[in-house]
Amino acid sequence: MNLTLKIWRQAGPDDKGRMVTYQVKNVNPDMSFLEMLDVLNEDLIAKGEDPVAFDHDCREGICGMCSLYINGEAHGPGRGITTCQLHMRSFKDGDTIIIEPWRAKAFPVIKDLVTDRSAFDRIIQAGGYISVNTSGNTIDANAIPIPKENADKAFDAATCIGCGACVATCKNSSAMLFVSAKVSQLALLPQGRVEAKERVLKMVHQMDLEGFGNCTNTGACEVECPKGISLENIARMNREYLAAVIS
């Protein structure tokens, strides 16, 4: 396959940035999208040009580091996958592919396609945990039975990989899906109930401080989430938040 790539190039946070066009030839359909970019970069290095910077690490869809906005979709076409799980067989010979970074005020660009997502870390630091120290003397793991349904729902919420696709997709750049996934996971477990009220207040407060937008229930985040985190979590967080505010 031969492809035309239009890639966002931005030297640093202060650079204005622009789209640059590249041609890639002999792309194998079994390649992953990132392997295709590797080939482009090898080519640029050989020509003495600056390779395209993009974030990636595990390349198996779990670390949450890769983050490309491809043809107007977070993680590109296809559902339930991250960019590193996107394969070139999803494209056709002669296609033009537009590649941009996550665009959100709270995720400033570091270089090219690499953004700073530390806002997510600060939201977790605000309360996305259970306050238990390391101790050899917690109660036995089976001392509190947890209904399977709750445990499964908590797990589903906990599978969020913190990639930021929800924010990049949302027209308001809202982080509600990310925040609600952690709030839900812990609210659904008896261990997490103890601090539930304080947690939701603190995490939402931090979310607002970071400059994320509000939720207007378009549901785009759920569609683009590579882990299929459900909108139900946002509803649950809203209930938790309301209950915390009025009580």
Partner: protein, 666 residues
């Protein structure tokens, strides 16, 4: 140099308790005066950083990723072992200890492994208290499954994402300390050297990967929790950024490197599909609970499969060779990883491989789907269900157990594994070798510790499945918080570590000189080209099977490649910017030395044990032939200026509680 493993006296089951009861402590007021650096934020690093901060130490944590939540522990799939005996199937601390020693082919330390088994149950309690959503049964209690090399069900899991859930648990504990200010987090930072002052580890040199700034950080103790070095093979299941540089830098500063040749080749990975490939993807060992591994009995059938003229479904039951069940009836598909990997290679080398490259075997879920489907039909009271109905019900059960793995497989290969068996082949996955540590996890440099996969201590020559997560968290949550005090108790009068000393100065200069060399080199060949070449040498000659001649060749080839690398590597960009090519160049430079030491170690070990299979040493039926009389030691290598001139120190392994036997899974 005398190696002192500092194993406490007394009976095996009392050693750790006695140690904890008598070890030196640091008072809360003094902990506030002591600084600790933790490099790496995977399971071992994040749990250590959080736990030490909770105790009151000032912690600085470093990771090269953009967030501590992304360390490669996150990709561990199948589970974590713990001797809880919730299934009432005969498990115990002793049995977990014994399975681990045996699984490691009797090349690990009894006392360390026993301690690991002892604290394993606490890990599960701790994680549940943190809100880790492990799988549960309908009664609300924790569920278990089986892993290779054991005959009990002691593996706790969260679908195929156990590593993710455990890491996020440790990350949340770490985040809580970051919020308190007790941990200072340095993400997108890479450690480029460890600084030794008067024989003690006193800090690190790190590079800010965004700005390129070189920084000095001083501390009273430095912990390396930097993972393994599997990426020396270029293609592995490790993340792209996983590297051996921190460990290698420590080695060059005086830390001995133990058993470097012990590499785990995982049997169930998605086969390589082309030259462009950047990494390999693991399919969890948990799949071997329900998947059966086979190739055709007839070479002709294998040929037709390779040519695409036959489908797996066309091969009837009686013409399939379930070779693991045939060779190892007692453990069947659940033999340890090294055994399963070698058996797959053997079949493929003999011409029974089933994909176009001839390097794949089938992992088939058909019988599990039908078995579960029948049980589900019974439970739902469906009388005389059709085959289709049974299949439909069975597929649902398989999906609940392994859904994300099946999806991952399909995304990569474009083959639906519910309908057609998976094709798998072994790939580099884990390194049992690592920095030599004593019972306290201290390296041969006082004040420098190594935790998790970065050290060598617990898995001998082969790690059992679901034991890496256990070891990482054991080291970080339950071992280092006790053992570090024994050293830091002697540091309470030291005062702040001054980084304006000649030692920091010269370490920083070395780092800067190396970066300047790369950028000013004017070479022609990219870093990846060298890395790929090194990987090929390692895989062909120091991979699943090794022989003396091949290893000698590999050593010469690596030396030549290294020379070429320094002359001809091309690194674009500048040092004062975000420059991933520069980061990679430093890592590959270190792999080019480490790879040679691995070959040297493999050459020294004239026996086969665990993942180290020397073709010259095998039984008549192709099993590993160990040599306990001469090689029951840990090979700890001392750096003297060149990898080829490393000096071997032997730590003799003493087995007081288990009898050394030929490992049999038959």
């Amino acid at each position: 140099m005398r190696l002192d493993s500092k194993i406490p006296a007394g009976p095996l089951e009392e050693k750790w308790t006695r140690y904890k009861g008598t070890v030196n402590l640091v008072s809360p007021a003094n902990k506030r005066k002591l600084d600790v650096i933790v490099v790496g934020t995977g399971l071992a690093g994040a749990s250590a950083a959080a736990s030490l901060a909770e105790l009151g130490y000032n912690v600085k944590a470093f990771c090269f990723q953009d967030s501590p939540r992304r360390a490669h522990s996150i990709a561990a799939q199948g589970g974590i072992n713990a001797a809880k005996n919730y299934q009432n199937d005969g498990d115990s601390v002793y049995r977990l200890f014994y399975d681990t020693i045996k699984g490691g082919d009797y090349r690990s330390r009894e006392a360390n492994v026993y301690r690991l088994a002892e604290v394993s149950a606490n890990i599960i309690d701790q994680c549940v208290a943190q809100g880790v959503p492990f799988a549960r049964d309908y009664g609300g209690l924790l569920d278990n499954r089986s892993f290779g090399g054991t005959q009990v069900s002691r593996t706790f899991y969260a679908k195929g994402q156990t590593g993710q859930q455990l890491l996020l648990g440790a990350y949340s504990a770490l985040s809580r300390q970051i919020a308190k200010g007790t941990v200072q987090m340095f993400a997108r930072h890479e450690m480029l050297d460890v600084v030794v002052v008067d024989g003690k580890a006193r800090g690190i040199i790190a590079r800010n990967l965004v700005t390129g700034e070189i920084e000095r950080h001083g501390a009273h103790a430095v912990l390396l929790a930097t993972g393994g070095y599997g990426n020396v093979f270029f293609l592995s299941t490790n993340a792209m950024g996983s590297n051996g540089s921190a460990a290698w830098k420590a080695h060059k500063r005086g830390a001995l490197f133990a058993n470097p040749c012990f590499t785990q080749i995982h049997p169930t990975c998605i086969p390589q599909s082309g030259e462009y490939q950047s990494k390999l993807t693991l399919m969890s060992e948990s799949l071997r609970n329900d998947g059966r591994i086979w190739v055709p009995k007839d070479r002709k059938d294998a040929e037709l499969l390779r040519e695409g003229k036959l489908k797996p479904i066309d091969i009837p039951e009686e013409k399939r060779d379930y070779y693991l069940e045939r060779r190892y009836p007692a453990f069947g598909n659940l033999v340890p990883r090294d055994v399963a990997s070698r058996a797959a290679k053997e079949r493929c080398d003999e011409g029974y491989g089933v994909n176009p490259t001839g390097k794949a075997v089938f992992l088939d879920f058909e019988s599990a789907i039908m078995r579960y489907g029948q049980v589900e039909a019974n439970l739902q009271g469906i009388k005389n269900p059709s085959k289709e109905k049974i299949r439909e019900l069975g597929e649902k059960i398989i999906e609940a157990k392994y859904g994300n793995l099946f999806q991952m497989y399909e995304k990569i290969t474009d083959i639906n594994p519910y309908k057609s068996p998976m094709m798998i082949y072994p790939a580099v996955h884990y390194t049992m070798g690592g920095i030599w540590v004593d019972y306290e996890l201290m390296t041969t440099i006082p004040g420098l510790y190594a935790l998790g996969e970065a050290n060598f201590s617990d898995h001998g020559a082969n790690r059992l499945g679901a034991s890496a997560l256990m070891q990482g968290l054991a080291d970080g949550y339950f071992v280092i918080p006790y053992t570090i005090g024994n050293y830091l108790a002697g540091e309470i009068k030291t005062g702040k570590i001054d980084t304006n000393t000649p030692e920091f100065e010269s370490a920083e200069k070395e780092v800067r000189d190396r970066i300047a060399h790369f950028l000013g080199n004017n070479g022609k060949t990219s870093v990846d080209t060298f890395h790929r070449e090194l990987g090929k040498i390692m895989w062909d000659k120091c991979g699943m099977s090794r022989n003396a001649q091949g290893l000698q060749e590999a050593i010469r080839e690596i030396q030549a490649l290294r020379e070429e690398f320094w002359k001809d590597v091309k690194v674009p960009g500048r040092s004062d910017m975000y420059n991933p090519e520069l980061d990679k160049a430093g890592r590959v430079a270190d792999f080019l030395e480490l790879g040679e030491l691995m070959c040297l170690d493999a050459l020294d070990r004239n026996e086969s044990c665990g993942g180290h299979f020397r073709e010259e040493y095998q039984t008549e039926d192709g099993e590993a032939l160990r040599n306990d009389a001469e090689y029951a030691y840990v090979a700890a290598w001392e750096y003297t200026g060149k990898p080829s001139e490393a000096i071997l120190h032997k730590e003799q392994l003493v087995f007081e509680n288990v009898e050394l036997k030929a490992r049999s899974y038959k």
